[in-house]
Each structure stands twice: as structure tokens, then as C-alpha cells.
Symmetry: C2
Subunit: 287 residues, 2 copies
């Protein structure tokens, strides 16, 4: 597979740089934030899942990929705020409120979230698909999705925690957005119901596996590798899989989720190999 | 005209109370925030404009009214944060971050903004109208709309200010959302292009008039009347119309905007009387 990340980065920057009417201060903060080096996994999932079900690239999928990446980026900007996780470093650079100020960071997050819906409502060439994309993204990101996970995460700080509460946090903060990315890709490719359900299962499994891998890396990797403050979960007394289950059992769970993700791809043929590789790659990632 | 506000309040509360899966803490903060007594002008505009162009009530308009009110409410919650306007009192009650905490207030705002788009994508019975509503709302609220106004407002603090910069702030922070409300109502009523344009002009004019009235009230009314801290613009060294032009010229400008708003309604007959009355009522409001 060729490297799609530069094209995603370029699209994100262009969508902001070329949009008329954004005040200069805000545009600078938006560009700073989206241009930080990210893994763009959610975007890649949208593109790959669209191509899997339709056999071709599709401009709608690029828009959906940019939209979900903007929502993910907004969530990082707000999570890093002093009132939330209070973090100074993200993707190897000062966080938005450190590089600018808190008010600008709050508004930058708000603007990214809103821009995602602007893009979906402006640039998808089929109204039925556009509405379905808005619905998937808003539900995954909202009060019963990512925000529910963040509220539970903040509440769990400095508590012993249970596997149930931790699973709730990881599913809501992370896995639902991975699920959403896979389904958005499927919607752009006009997937049938069976294929959409398979993609949803796959996305949820690799999302949860990804977050467990993140927990493990936070314990074992350096800040330089991660580009964000390492050991911060421990410092914030956050409940994690390694803290609750130990490293070995956490790794076993990660492996199991990768297998379940691969199993979900059963309705697809060889075209899904890139998604299978992604599930396995998550087991070996080091940042 | 009968009082529509209790029905709007009831709808806002039900949409949150009856939505499964919102964590309890977040649901409490959401209900606290939307149940604060508001004037609901944006919601009323949606309902009235829909009825003006279609001659009847319409469930889509109720959904759109709730969505724009949620976006307005989110903007108040974030504007009141310590890093922004740092306000303790809103609609006669402690602001969200005072009643709960800052992290909850940030997430409550995020959740309201997202919920607006969830509702539009879930509950509008025509995909074309739903996409148009999402587009209007996201554009009015986003980086070239309300958020642009808030960035400019923060930047203008403690500066002398000019009429141009103040007009930019008021148009972006307030008038574009009024314009949006009127257009959303028109879209729900399947208005033709000429009528949509007329509603857009009307909304922009009364929105700007409303904000100038707000500036005047901040100087002349008490905190008790306003339900929010009076004189806070002065205290925050905010640039306002009375500060730049004096009260008399500000009132003259307010009158002129009301007249222009009424003139924009020319394509409509007697059915627009309630909108004409609203334009005049803004001149006499005391809170």
C-alpha cells in the first residue's frame, strides 16, 4: 500500500487555508493543530473501507476522512486543556493552549468540530449519504459516544477502577470513533447492510485494541517515541489495562481483539488484506 | 400570538432527558444548562418563519428550533468559562462551570453542539432539507461565523475599538445566528429562493439590532433585570455601541435596523405581522 498520509495532511491543511473568512488568529491556530504529525488512522480507515466495498477511490471518502480527523483533533485540543488532562506536549509539539492561549484552544476545538459538519454538508454529492455521515459522526463523537467516554475518564481519575469502567471509557473515547470511521467509509462506498455491519464490528475491535496498545505504550515507551508526555496516565492516576491486568494479560487481550477484528472481515475477500494488516500492525506499533 | 416558549423548553428538556446512554453527570449538566430561563428568540424565529412561508406548524421546524437553541446555549457555556469572559451568572443562575466544574462545562458545551447535529441528522424527514439545515447551522456557528465573532471579541478587549470591528463582532457573534434561525425556518417550510433571501435579510437586521439593544441594556439595566452580570462589558473593557457612539446614536441605529428588518418582510403579507412585532419589540425590551 502506498503512503496515503501526506495526501490526508495536505487536504486537511488546504481545507482550512483556502476557506475564506476565517480570522487570521484562528486560522493560525487551526493550521498549527491539524498540521501536527498524526497517525491519521481514522482517516485511513475511511479511505480503505470505502475502497474495499466499492473497489475505487471516491471524493466523498476524502471529505469524510478529513471530517473525522478534524473531530479527533478537536477532542485532543480540548482533552489537553488545563481543566481536563492538563498536558503540555502533543504529537511532539506544545499543545494548542501552550502555543496560543486557553481561549484560543477552546475556540479552535469548537471550530474544528463545527467545520467537520460544514464539510459533510457542503461537499458530499448525495444528500442521503451526507445525512448518514453526519449522523454517524455526531453520534460517535457526542454525549453518548466520545464525550461520554471523556466524562467517565475524568471521573475515574484517582479511583481504583474496574475492568467494566475502563472498557466503557475505551469503547466510548476511542473504539466508537474507529467504528464510525469504518462505517463512514462503507457509507461513501454505498456498502450494503451486511458489509456495513461487518465494518462496524471490525472498527470497534481494532479501536479497543488500539487503545489497549496505547495504554501499554504509555507504560513502556519514552516521551520522545510517543511525541506526548509518557507515563502521564500513571502520573494522573489514570486507570489503564496494564495497571488493572498487568502487561502480559493486556497484550493477550490486544491479540484477541486483533483476531476478532480480522474475523469480522470474513465477508470480504483479498481486498480486505490492508485492513487485516492494520489489525496486526497495531500489535507491533511503538508509537 | 400564544406563548410558544414553554413548548420549546419542554422539547429541549425531553430531547436530553429521554436520550438513552448519556452518563448521569453529563445529563445533569446538560439539563441544568438548557433549563435555565432563556428568551428562546432563535427558536421562535425558526417556528414563525416556517409558519410564515408554509402556513402551518411542522415537526421539522421544532427539531431545527431545538438544534439552534442548543448551539446558542453551548456558545454561552463556553463564553462564560474563566479563560473566556469568566462570568459567574447567566440567566439568573450560576454559570455551568460554577454549578459543576470547568471540565464538565467544556464537555457540556461540546455535547450540546454535537447534539444539535445529531438531532438534525436523525429527526428531519427529508434528506435534502436536513443537509441544508446542517449547512446553515454549521456555517453560522463555525470559524467564519459565531466563533470568528468570539475570537474578534476577545481580541478587542482593552482596545479602543472602531465601529467596523464592533460591527464585525456583532454580525458574527449574534446576527448570523439570527439570520440562520430565519433561514432554517424557511427551509423547513420549503420556502422559495426569494422568500429565503428575504428571511435572511430580516434575520440579519434584527440580529444586529438585538445585539445593540443588548449593549444598551448592559449600560442601563440591573443584574437582576438581566439575569446576568450587568455592566460586565464596561468592566471587561469591552467595546460597545454606547461606548463608541453614545446611547442616543445607538438607539437611533437600533430603530433604523428595526425599520430595515420590517422592510425586508415586504414580500410577505399579514402573516408576517408577528415578525414585524418582534422587530419593534426589540426596541422596547428591558432584559
Amino acid at each position: 500500500m502506498h503512503n496515503r498520509i501526506p495526501a490526508i495532511n495536505d487536504l486537511l491543511e488546504r481545507l482550512i487555508a483556502e476557506r475564506p473568512g476565517i480570522p487570521d488568529d484562528l486560522r493560525r491556530a487551526l493550521l498549527y493543530t491539524v498540521s501536527a504529525p498524526g497517525k491519521r488512522i481514522r482517516s485511513l480507515l475511511v479511505l480503505w473501507c470505502c475502497e474495499l466495498v466499492s473497489g475505487r477511490e471516491n471524493p466523498n471518502a476524502s471529505v469524510a476522512a478529513a471530517a473525522i480527523e478534524m473531530v479527533h483533533t478537536y477532542s485532543l485540543v480540548h482533552d489537553d486543556l488545563p481543566a481536563m488532562d492538563d498536558d503540555d506536549l502533543r504529537r511532539g509539539r506544545p499543545t494548542c493552549h501552550k502555543a496560543f492561549d486557553e481561549a484560543t484552544a477552546i475556540l479552535t476545538g469548537d471550530a474544528l468540530l463545527t467545520l467537520a459538519f460544514e464539510l459533510l454538508s457542503e461537499r458530499i454529492d448525495d444528500a442521503g449519504i451526507a445525512v448518514a455521515l453526519v449522523r454517524e459522526l455526531a453520534q460517535a463523537a457526542g454525549a453518548t459516544g466520545m464525550i461520554a467516554g471523556q466524562i467517565a475518564d475524568l471521573k475515574a481519575e484517582n479511583t481504583a477502577g474496574t475492568i467494566e469502567s475502563l472498557e466503557f471509557i475505551h469503547i466510548h473515547k476511542t473504539a466508537k470513533m474507529f467504528r464510525c470511521a469504518a462505517v463512514m467509509g462503507g457509507l461513501c462506498g454505498r456498502a450494503n447492510r451486511e458489509h456495513l455491519d461487518a465494518l462496524a464490528r471490525y472498527g470497534l475491535k481494532i479501536g479497543l485494541g488500539f487503545q489497549i496498545a496505547d495504554d501499554i505504550l504509555d507504560v513502556s515507551a519514552s516521551s520522545e517515541q510517543l511525541g506526548k508526555t509518557a507515563g502521564k496516565d500513571l502520573k494522573a492516576a489514570k486507570c489503564t489495562y496494564p495497571a488493572l491486568l498487568g502487561i502480559d494479560r493486556s497484550k493477550a487481550m490486544e491479540r484477541q481483539l486483533a483476531e476478532e477484528a480480522v474475523a469480522a472481515l470474513e465477508p470480504f475477500g483479498q481486498g480486505a488484506d490492508v485492513l487485516r494488516q492494520l489489525a496486526v500492525a497495531l500489535l507491533h506499533r511503538n508509537k
